[in-house]
Symmetry: none
Subunit: 493 residues, 2 copies
């Protein structure tokens, strides 16, 4: 922390941001709470609109020209722009103002009534009043509300950074655009359409994705991409209806066992995917990317302890290396009944739902085709709708396979000059960073890269323990303070 | 059918039974429906008691001395007795009045509101009103209710046969006992204790087990034994709670995949069980038994067509041969969620429920031990209760294995004089029969044979397509009619 502090003072914008923040903590949190108090579930159109309009007004209050951009049926993207005389490039700051769906009953306090707590709720954190203006916040306190971490925090951080810059007379050097999405948690169903319909408006040399958490050690991280995502559902068939397992056991084929054999044929004991050509064409990591991974703190043991794991997949490889490979995950499996509901039957069907994470060089459609081809090689006649009696009678093994759409992975090479510049700026504010070629999860990066042909780099600010996709979502106060300084640094790139 | 009809007339008791039935179809079904309307899940103690008392009253109505016999914690056996002056032997008629557990949501109509349908529900069968008294039932109609086929039908058949015998003045020649169990579908946990505590009461030269279905050609069958039954539930562990499959996929172990790999290791593609020593010590079939199997109609193709199967296990071996071998069946499997409920998670647990069918020469306990040993050989640390954090952290793979109790197989030699006599009587009523050394299913035969040292032969009446262990259980009307005639013949043995 001390090293980071010292470094922060080398970045004038970050230094100005810190001074401003120290003088305005209560006002910053008040504005943040006002924004968090507007419910932000993507399907709640009225409140989504209120969020968008509120954010547009907040931009305009800072002198940023703002408007709402949309296509029919979509939640609006809040667009803002700072034109910088003489600037030769444009940087677009992305965040999203919608939040994950929720069940208020699971929350310790109402998700859209923001509160301050003295520590995490699961550690017994109690609601406390906001300090009076001029009184400091404890940086370990937490701000609780849906969207606190994911992903309204970057919006407040950027706007506060603009306030600090104006007060200190610091100007932008690039053209700056803001793009705040309103349905990321619904899977960004319209982002690509909106961008494709407004290419010039959203054009930029670089998109900075301000979403997701910092590293689990609380170090700042910079992530240069995300895995893609696709998947398929497989249903295998036994007898037309459940049969008595005594009368027909050992004769009637058991779809649960067939499913077990099929899934087992897809991965070996070390977790290596054994589907032909699955790893073909994967873009290798560059030496710089490999070195960045090697330099990242190893958190495997800490995580294994937290998750009660006695082993991991990948034959001892580290998490940060493994997420640069594709994953094939059985996300659910069902056949007849278990536990007290089980009975002595041969199941009629067995189903598995599989999700696949893709890395650069893989194509979502091609990858699911390879899985389907693998299923065929295991002797299955593959159909795409419920097979009828004749189909089932005339093939030894029948599989219904439903392929979900998918998004390919996106990765920005770390050695691009602009990528190197982002690293330098971020480190000038936040000290040494963790740099990862891609995150394990997926973000709507193809929806940006495909229509705009731009580059994306992910610069998150939330704490990793912010419960972002669960109840009791929160933001650690220090992460907001750090985020303000980071955004100030990036806004004057 | 014509041949069977002609033969039936050679047996006076069966002839009397048919005449009685033809005059009383509606009354017989009314009494059956009243019995089926009493819920009969073994753990539902109040209703089990109502069933038992109702059946006792039904026996007494026929002049059969009846009582409920039990031990603490057990569901009562309904006992009835007809002492026959001068009789030199005693035949005990067994059936059970409890039914398989169920989920009413899966049923086309409530399981304890019996209905008549014009054909099987899966063929579009519609509920139809009962014909008025004096109007005949179509023999292909079906009676739907839990217990209709398994196993309240034989109880009604025996009682109706007694009515017919009394009306025709036909008397028993042996001493007759009735033993109707109330927890067969719960695995007959107390039958042996009840019989052992009442050896004299239940003593008999032969127990006729009236349970299970007739042959799939609808021919009468006589079965000289049953496979034994045991099983185990396996739960495998992944992370403590479901994890994001993007962030941790390919690193956190997936218990669904581990389960698939474990189950796949237990059987090969032909259905041969690949657990060490699993087939050790199996008693070979005698020449008479082999001949009986060879003479049984081959129904594999017919069944495959009916069950929509394009292949069977066993590398082309016939069903009748395969059921003289042990079976290992995955009766249910579950991990996280599938279909619309699925989400991108690495499941926290995966569970399978396995049932095993045993043949003579195998021991239930020894067999499950071999399965547990197999699980250990696949690298699992096996526990018998929910593993804690330390256990899970300190072992690469942990399996919670719960072994169910079990019953060994029982087989009565076909060449015993009494076995030959049963064959003669049954064939005098029902024409040529199918004779099998053992059925594929299991019956609580050891619980009878061990305490009483008697012999058992299985004489079933239900249709094979009665969905007995699933939802929409039913009885084909003609099977009830045939059953009444068969019971009449056997009651005067």
């Amino acid at each position: 922390m001390t090293a980071a502090l010292a470094l922060a003072q080398d970045n004038a914008a970050a230094r100005a941001a810190r001074e401003w923040r120290q003088q305005h903590e209560r006002a910053i949190v008040d504005e943040f709470f006002s924004l968090l108090a507007i419910p932000n579930i993507a399907r709640d159109r009225d409140n989504i609109q209120r969020n968008a309009e509120t954010i547009a007004r907040m931009l305009e209050k800072r002198g940023v020209a703002a408007k709402l951009v949309s296509v029919p049926g979509a939640n609006p993207v809040v667009f803002g722009e700072i034109r910088t005389p003489g600037a030769s490039r444009t940087i677009v700051f992305y965040a999203h103002y919608d939040g994950q769906p929720l069940d208020p009953k699971e929350w310790a306090s109402p998700p859209f009534e923001p509160v301050l707590r003295d520590k995490p709720v699961q550690d017994g954190g109690k609601t406390i009043p906001l300090p009076a203006a001029g009184q400091p916040f404890d940086p370990e306190w937490r701000l609780y509300a849906r969207g606190a971490g994911d992903d309204k925090a970057p919006i407040i951080a950027m706007l506060t950074a603009l306030d600090a810059m104006r007060a200190a007379g610091i100007r932008t050097r690039s053209n700056i655009k803001f793009a705040f999405e309103g349905e990321e948690e619904a899977g960004s169903p319209n982002l690509e359409r909106i961008l494709a319909a407004n290419k010039e408006l959203f054009a930029g040399d670089l998109w900075l994705m301000c979403d997701g958490p910092v590293y689990q050690t609380r170090q700042q991280q910079i992530v240069f991409g995300a895995r893609g995502d696709t998947g398929l559902d497989i249903t295998l068939y036994g007898p037309r209806y459940e049969l008595h397992s005594g009368h027909y056991g050992n004769w009637a084929p058991n779809p649960a066992l067939m499913l077990a054999q099929l899934l087992a044929s897809m991965k070996n004991a070390e977790g290596r995917i054994t589907i032909d050509h699955f790893y073909d064409g994967i873009t290798p990591l560059s030496p710089l990317e490999k070195r960045a991974i090697a330099e990242a703190p190893v958190i495997d043991e800490m995580l294994a302890r937290e998750f009660w794991l006695g082993s991991t997949e990948g034959g001892g490889a580290k998490l940060n290396d493994l997420v640069t490979l594709p994953a094939l995950n059985v996300r659910g499996m069902a056949s007849s009944r278990t536990g007290n509901q089980a009975s002595n039957v041969i199941p009629a069907t067995a189903t598995a739902s599989i999700d696949i994470r893709l890395v650069p060089g893989m194509d979502a459609h091609e990858t699911t085709s390879r899985v389907v081809e693998h299923i065929r090689k295991q002797g299955f006649f593959v159909v795409d709708k419920e097979p009828d009696a004749d189909t089932r009678r005339s093939h030894a093994k029948v599989a219904l396979v439903t392929v979900r759409g998918g998004d390919n992975a996106v990765r920005t090479p770390m050695d691009l000059p602009m990528a190197q510049e982002v690293i330098r700026v971020v480190e000038s504010v936040r000290g040494p960073t963790v740099k990862l070629p891609n995150m394990g999860g997926s973000l709507p990066l193809t929806s940006i890269v495909r229509p705009l042909g731009t580059r994306v780099i992910v610069v998150p600010i939330a704490n990793h323990d912010d419960n972002q996709h669960s109840f009791n979502e929160n933001l650690r106060v220090q992460n907001l303070w750090d985020g303000i300084e980071l955004m100030a640094g990036l806004l004057v790139m």
